[in-house]
């Protein structure tokens, strides 16, 4: 069996040699490589016309030996020249300059024809690669182990101005947003000042007191004080609610007498149907005085 295979190879070898014109491996240099270097090798195969490299016979990227990886394989054809660009990477940590053998590999050339295809094996020969150590094996003795390390490189000097300006700008924008939020939520210092309900009433009453006396004016004056009381109480205040109101707002207790007279007069004016009688009991000036006293108490409170 083995004899038969040897015979077959001999028969096939004859024409194959005839079809191959030459194989050449070219390397930029065969020495001076360090750990991790990429090695570019170019294999040129000169063949008979019509032949092409069989893609499946090309070497696969991956580890070649324990110290060498094949990183990339590219092929091109120039007429009858078939060119392989091979990129190796060496991982050999040499401790002295030495030459290592890069193994060769087989390729197959094929030519297709109507009555079948012809193949021709090509043996790419191995080649040697000169590898060198990165540094001496035994460095000079140092007192401080830290001296074995190279000093850190100087960092580039950065310009702080743009970053500072951006921080300032964003800070100002943040404060502005906070102010707007505080205003929206009525936080300090935007807390709404308590409405000066009685101050408005006192102003209105003073304005009416300056004008001519009339029933409508008198009613309007009473209404102004009513609205002030409503605003202060938070709801509509009727005469019977006066005690309740004064219990809730002790600041106005001093005006109990005046308020009681005001409510009595207001009842007569609006519901008793006698503005004249109401005015006799409580002239508008007196209502104005009560409103002023209430406004003063309101400011003090």
């Amino acid at each position: 069996m083995r004899l038969a295979l040897a015979l077959l190879l001999t028969v096939l070898a004859g024409p194959a040699v005839a079809q191959l014109r030459g194989v050449e491996v070219r390397v930029p240099r065969t020495f001076g490589y360090f750990l991790g270097d990429l090695v570019e090798a170019t294999v040129a195969v000169e063949a008979e016309p019509g032949f092409a490299l069989q893609a499946s016979s090309l070497p696969q990227a991956g580890p070649v030996t324990y110290w060498l990886d094949l990183r990339r394989v590219e092929t091109r054809q120039e007429g009858t020249r078939h060119i392989l660009h091979l990129t190796y990477q060496t991982f050999y940590a040499a401790i002295d300059a030495r030459s290592l053998e890069v193994p060769g590999f087989p390729l197959v050339l094929t030519r297709g024809a109507d009555h079948g295809s012809t193949t021709a094996p090509v043996e790419v020969p191995g080649w040697s690669l000169g590898l060198s150590p990165l540094r001496e094996v035994q460095p000079a003795r140092r007192a401080d182990p830290a001296d074995y390390l190279r000093p850190d490189g100087l960092g580039p000097r950065l310009d702080p101005i743009p970053a500072r300006n951006a921080a300032l700008g964003l800070g100002v924008a943040g404060l502005l947003a906070l102010v707007l939020l505080a205003r929206d939520r009525a936080w300090w210092p935007f807390r709404p000042r308590p409405a000066r309900a009685f101050a408005d009433a006192a102003r209105r009453l003073a304005a009416l007191a300056r004008g001519p006396e009339s029933e409508a004016g008198y009613r309007e004056g009473l209404l102004a004080l009513h609205r002030g009381l409503d605003a202060k109480a938070g709801h509509r205040l009727l005469a019977d609610d006066l005690d309740d109101f004064l219990a809730r707002h002790p600041a106005f207790r001093a005006q109990r007498e005046g308020l009681a007279r005001f409510f009595a007069a207001s009842r007569i004016a609006f519901f008793g149907g006698s503005v004249a009688e109401a005015r006799d009991r409580l002239p508008l000036a007196e209502a104005g005085a009560t409103a002023r006293a209430l406004a003063a108490a309101e400011r003090a409170a």
Partner: protein, 344 residues
């Protein structure tokens, strides 16, 4: 502030009678001055009253005391599930001679003098009975024994237990509207009153308590006349008329008056109806009586406020989804209405 015209001595005399009536009832029913005042107002406004409250807070005692203090013919029935309208009108029985007899029932027994008809546990009676009662209250008349009976003096008092819901029938809206007031009654909160109610043996014997009340303080036959005199005697100024209309508007359309209640998103759809013109007329009637009792011959907003909730609350109908919580929503709505509408 006695502004009642001096010449109108009758109103003054009657006010004294009303005060005596209130005092007599208050002697038997402790700590319910507000309820007694409302019932007095209803008596002088000639309106029917529905009392609502827990078991044992004194609803029945109060109404019995009122009936006794008032005087006049008095009838009482207890609402039951199997009660039929004819049970109110006719009394049927087998006589000694074995023949069936039909005689006037509770409503007809006192004939046309009937002054107080007291319907206990009204929500236990069936809608048929409510329908009869509706006519009795609205028209003060009844068809029986092939003729029409009229009850010019009639005033209906009813009470209702609000705890139990089983085997009860809710009053139809029309019947509820016929009640001048629907008064919610609660046990007094005052500790001294509570102690007296719990420990004083006088309050344990209800019959004895009622028997101790002076009777006949108000003459039912003359109440109609005095009620009419009060309605004509108490003035309502332009301002109070505007105020009542504004209250009415705010109650029916609270969202337009700017009223917001907590927990209710859709204020526009909250009030579905009710607050009828009859209700507002009743409100003014009751308020006038209150003004008269307070010795005024003109209305003030406080008069309206004092009677607003008992008169108006049961006439407001809410969106069905809120009906379950009406006992919280309607009082809150009434309060909000008064806190929103300006007076004057």
């Amino acid at each position: 502030m006695n502004d009642i015209r001096r010449g109108d001595a009758m109103l003054t005399d009657w006010r004294a009678a009303a005060q005596a009536f209130e005092a007599a009832v208050a002697g038997a029913v402790l700590g319910q001055e507000r309820i007694i005042r409302l019932v007095t107002i209803a008596v002088f406004a000639r309106g029917h009253v529905l009392l609502e409250g827990d078991v044992g807070v004194g609803k029945t005692t109060l109404l019995r005391a009122v009936a006794r203090a008032m005087g006049g013919a008095y009838e009482r029935v207890e609402g039951t599930v199997d009660m039929m309208p004819t049970d109110l009108v006719y009394h049927t029985y087998l006589a000694e001679d074995g023949r069936p007899r039909v005689e006037p029932g509770p409503v007809l027994r006192s004939s046309e003098d009937l002054a107080i008809f007291f319907f206990n546990e009204i929500n236990r009676a069936r809608p048929q009975v409510h329908a009869l009662l509706l006519r009795l209250m609205a028209e003060r008349s009844l068809q029986a024994f092939n003729r029409e009976y009229r009850f010019p003096l009639l005033q209906v008092f009813a009470d209702r237990n609000r705890v139990e819901r089983e085997e009860t029938f809710e009053l139809p809206a029309a019947a509820r509207d016929r009640f001048l007031m629907e008064i919610g009654m609660e046990a007094p909160r005052d500790p001294a009153t509570r102690r007296a109610l719990a420990f004083d043996p006088r309050f344990h014997d209800t019959d004895g308590l009622i028997a101790g009340i002076p009777t006949g303080l108000l003459d039912p036959a003359r109440l109609g006349g005095i009620a009419s005199a009060i309605q004509h005697g108490v003035r309502a100024s332009e301002a109070i008329q505007a105020y009542v209309v504004a209250l009415w508007e705010a109650l029916v359309r609270p969202h337009e008056a700017g009223i917001r209640l907590p927990g209710i998103d859709d204020m526009a759809g909250l009030v579905q109806g009710g607050a009828s013109p009859r209700g507002v007329a009743a409100l003014v009637r009751a308020a006038r009586v209150r003004a008269w009792l307070e010795e005024r011959d003109w209305l003030v907003p406080e008069d309206i406020r004092a009677v607003f909730e008992p008169v108006m609350a049961h006439r407001v109908f809410l969106e069905p989804i809120h009906e379950l919580h009406r006992s919280e929503i309607v009082p809150a709505l009434c309060r909000a209405v008064f806190e929103t509408v300006p007076a004057p």
